[in-house]
Symmetry: C2
Subunit: 357 residues, 2 copies
């Protein structure tokens, strides 16, 4: 349904309609100029040849030092999604199940489905502050469980998992010998302290991206930190699929890391201001919502709403949103991405309020 | 084994050893400057955001016009390898078999193996001019055959499939309702007239790349021409794996197409000269070989050679080659990629001759 909304939104824009794009997690900020310049320089130097399927040494070493692991545990991927697909493909292609707390990013489900893996969803709710029920999680695990997927901070709720809860999840996973895949693509720009899975136990898997942190969505570069045996297997999968991430893109990413303090502070502040603005407006409405712990999303609930028809009709008012059903069984909810300028946030929320039944 | 050779070659080079790299199909020519400039310009214009998973409209339309198909049949992929992986994954993940003539590019086999598809190899030999035996091919097809993979021109033999043979293959595939995947990444720079699969029947699938034609290997961009229903399915696979090929790379590829006459003529002449040079030297030796119809490879045979140990030992002499076993049951053969300057071709072949048992 999200892709249907996106396609229709693009079509309407092509026909000349103005559209407030709350539907996509694609920052409106341009990629910082220094990063672009680093890519240009690398291209001019001829960094346009086949390269290592595991990633460039310099970039892997820098990431290893940031995460306090060995470079042999770091693999550069064509976006975090490719890291997730690769890992799930390798662990689940021969069967088994994966546990996914909901609401969840659509791709986890579609990826698992693409090779027929069994999914076990664990519902969380706004009323309990989106808290994962660790006991229920434990009950879902069986001998065929290959993976637990955590998204911290979460898309669409922007909730950061409580440290104590995370510790309990790690404990239960360790006791039962199940790997956690922790997708932390929003953590660097989180508004609150966000512990990484690696802070608890380096047996688990961390997935990160340059997309959100550095406004580099279209560059397609991310990375995974995982045990060496799986790096080896993922590298072999890369050899028969993508070969390598273009080296000039890896050099741009290395430049991003150099400048990360400054870039991250700026981006985080932009989104904190926008989140405050959205919360201020939403708090004056009948919608229920939880204050975001991180960029980019707010995930409000409106009692008895059919968010699918609501989202489709809202396109005619020039606002694109993601219906809650995109993220699981959340028909009364919808997701707003604050990846548009402040004035569009105000106008878009005003239009949403007017359109609500 | 090829990857082992490549890794060891890289290691020796890092230790300061000079290496003639006959092992990689990676052109020594730089990407033409106009193509690099087009990418730079696009980056500066902010073409760094998420984009369509099927590819940019302008590039698809241009390719459609070149191949005389509809833009709806064209999908842009992150290299031709990704096109091949995607198609094979979609057609074979639930079982079935694929027919692959040998010698064959390693990736076909490794891709099919990665999701457990059955492979049926059809041997061709130097003594019959690498001709595909159409009757034998027909006998390999059964109800579970999902795909026949053709590589035209072929890697490693650089042989172009005879038009009449190709016509017979298409006929037999049509009669039995089997799809042909024709990988034609070397055809634009072929030395002889090379008919495309689409010249016979547009029900079959064409895979192409910008890598070889435009010296753009590290950019990771190719395309596939296939029926719309499969474009739709491949697009959905892209949505859960790679999202999109970076738009600035697609704009660079569009520039390459604009300049293709001029670029292709130059690259083809470079390789024709190199092929002539290599053949001249080889014809004075005891090695058996067939004259290349296309870039980049020569695939000589030396009676009773164990090409694996030969290739490993040859690294110490500063020459990297690909042993014949990389491409199937061809232990007495090895592959030389003419992707090095002329003087290195002379020196490298001299060293090979000296090292032969």
């Amino acid at each position: 349904m999200l892709y249907e909304i996106s396609e229709k939104a693009i079509q309407l824009v092509n026909e000349g309609k103005k559209m407030i794009k709350f539907n996509m997690g694609d920052p409106d900020q341009p990629t910082p100029n220094e990063i672009v310049e680093a890519a240009l320089e690398a291209m001019k130097q001829g960094k346009t040849k086949y390269a290592s399927s595991v990633g460039e040494k310099g970039l892997r070493e820098e990431l290893a030092s940031i995460h306090n692991v060995s470079a042999g545990n770091v693999m550069i991927t064509a976006g975090s999604k490719w890291a997730i697909f690769s890992l799930m493909f390798l662990l689940l292609k021969k069967g088994g199940n994966v546990i996914i707390p909901t609401p969840h990013w659509t791709s986890y489900e579609l990826i698992a489905k693409s090779f027929g893996a069994e999914m076990r969803f664990l519902r969380t709710d706004i009323d309990s502050g989106w808290k994962i029920d660790v006991e229920k999680l434990g009950n879902l695990i069986d001998q065929k469980t290959r993976l637990i997927v955590l998204n911290n901070p979460n898309n669409p709720t922007s909730k950061v998992i409580d440290e104590k809860v995370l510790e309990e999840i790690v404990q239960i996973a360790n006791n039962k010998g199940v790997t956690i895949l922790s997708d932390e693509v929003y953590s660097d720009i989180s508004f609150v302290k966000t512990k990484s899975i690696l802070d608890f136990d380096d047996k688990h898997v961390l997935v990160k991206s340059f997309s959100k942190t550095f406004a580099m969505t279209g560059w397609r570069i991310g990375y995974i930190i995982v045990e060496k045996e799986l790096v080896e297997k993922m590298m072999k999968l890369n050899q028969i699929t993508l070969t390598n991430v273009p080296v000039f893109i890896q050099i741009a990413a290395l430049k991003a890391l150099e400048l990360r303090k400054e870039i991250v502070d700026k981006i985080r502040e932009d989104y904190r201001r926008r989140a405050d603005l959205a919360c201020k407006i939403l708090s004056k409405t009948k919608m229920k919502f939880s204050r975001p712990d991180a960029p980019f999303y707010v995930f409000p609930k409106y009692d008895n709403l059919d968010s699918e028809s609501f989202a489709l009709n809202l396109l005619d008012d020039g606002v694109a949103i993601a219906p809650g059903t995109t993220f699981g069984d959340y028909r009364e909810y919808f997701r707003i991405a604050l990846t548009v300028p402040d004035e569009e946030i105000e106008l878009g929320l005003k239009k949403i309020c007017e359109a609500l039944p």
